[in-house]
Symmetry: C2
Subunit: 207 residues, 2 copies
């Protein structure tokens, strides 16, 4: 199926919908209304309907969206219908948490390699993955690993990003609380854990 | 200053703008255009101008927004202009990473307490915070800790959320990859690390 060009804002919401759809699917539901999905994921139902309109018409009035179809459509648009291998750089606390994180598989991700600067960590296993020397980053291309995850201290983040780009990585998930610059052909998503927390006080006035 | 009711979607973007404004401020810049901010944070400039219109008119045509004023406005709307104490539950790899995370202070957050079920961890220090027994959660209210961070395995997440609510917490940041239900008076934000990664393959087609 060919999809119309989907706006970035919609692309950003699709994983949220996917997660909600998987949740309902696991509860044994077959279809879901945009209102019900809206209630779960915290996005307006009109926004959901507008976003889904990019996939063509597959909702049934009064019944809602077929959950299985929805999951497949979103996975196909996001190219999550194949396994994506990612390389983790930084096997400290955060890196180890990411290696053990059960959520990646839900979206078809596999952390297939892990690297650390600390020679004492090299050769050790974390969550089934052997930690490799940073010099081995250059093997990523040959191993079909096209995504990188940066979980190093912020002062090392830019250097690691540069090395990942040199190693042929096309997408980077950056957990360092700092903007990192990469060539425009490389997509970088920076996760600022504290930033997500920054919304909370708005909703929780003291008193 | 009194602000008009700001939509949730705008509230969600404000921390992104704040982070960008702080970044420019640290680079010594005094003012920034919506286009320049848009380039940094990856949101359309018209969207930024629309979002900022809720603060009243403070941009200068041809010059842009005063960065100091911008930071203050956003901090005030998000109620980040005071220190917010948070309690962390779960001092495993992820919890330890969060305790050591330098980004929280940027938004006025302080992880003031940490709890773990594992009695062997209780009494030990992580990043300057002594890990306490779960039974001590009930002291949160008296300690003016109104935010909770859940960093426990997903099967324990709902139970921990219930305990945090009982302890009087008004806002929860949930790192478990599972939806957790709380009373409507409590605001919960679920961070799904893998979900953020789920956008990447869309932008990084193979080949």
């Amino acid at each position: 199926m060919k999809y119309r060009r989907v706006p970035d804002e919609t692309i950003r919401r699709l994983p949220v919908y996917l997660r909600g759809a998987i949740y309902f699917s696991r509860q044994g539901m077959k279809s879901v209304s945009s209102e019900k999905l809206a209630g779960l994921v915290g996005v307006n139902s009109w926004q959901i309907r507008k976003d889904f309109s990019y996939f063509g018409e597959f909702g049934t009035p009064g019944v809602g969206y077929d959950i299985g179809t929805l999951i497949k459509h979103i996975q196909r648009i996001l190219r999550l219908n194949v396994v994506h291998k990612a390389a983790l750089v930084g096997a400290g606390n955060l890196g180890s948490a990411l290696l053990a994180y059960p959520g990646f598989r839900m979206y078809g991700f596999e952390i297939a390699a892990a690297f650390d600067m600390d020679k004492r960590k090299v050769g050790k296993k974390r969550a089934g993955v052997v930690i490799e020397d940073m010099a081995k980053l250059r093997t990523l291309k040959a191993r079909y690993i096209r995504l990188g995850i940066i979980a190093v201290p912020e002062e090392a983040a830019q250097d690691v990003a540069d090395q990942l780009v040199l190693a042929g990585v096309k997408g980077i998930l950056n957990f360092s609380p700092r903007y990192v610059s990469v060539p425009s052909k490389v997509k970088i998503i920076t996760i600022d854990i504290a930033m997500d927390l920054a919304c909370l006080p708005y909703y929780t006035p003291a008193g």
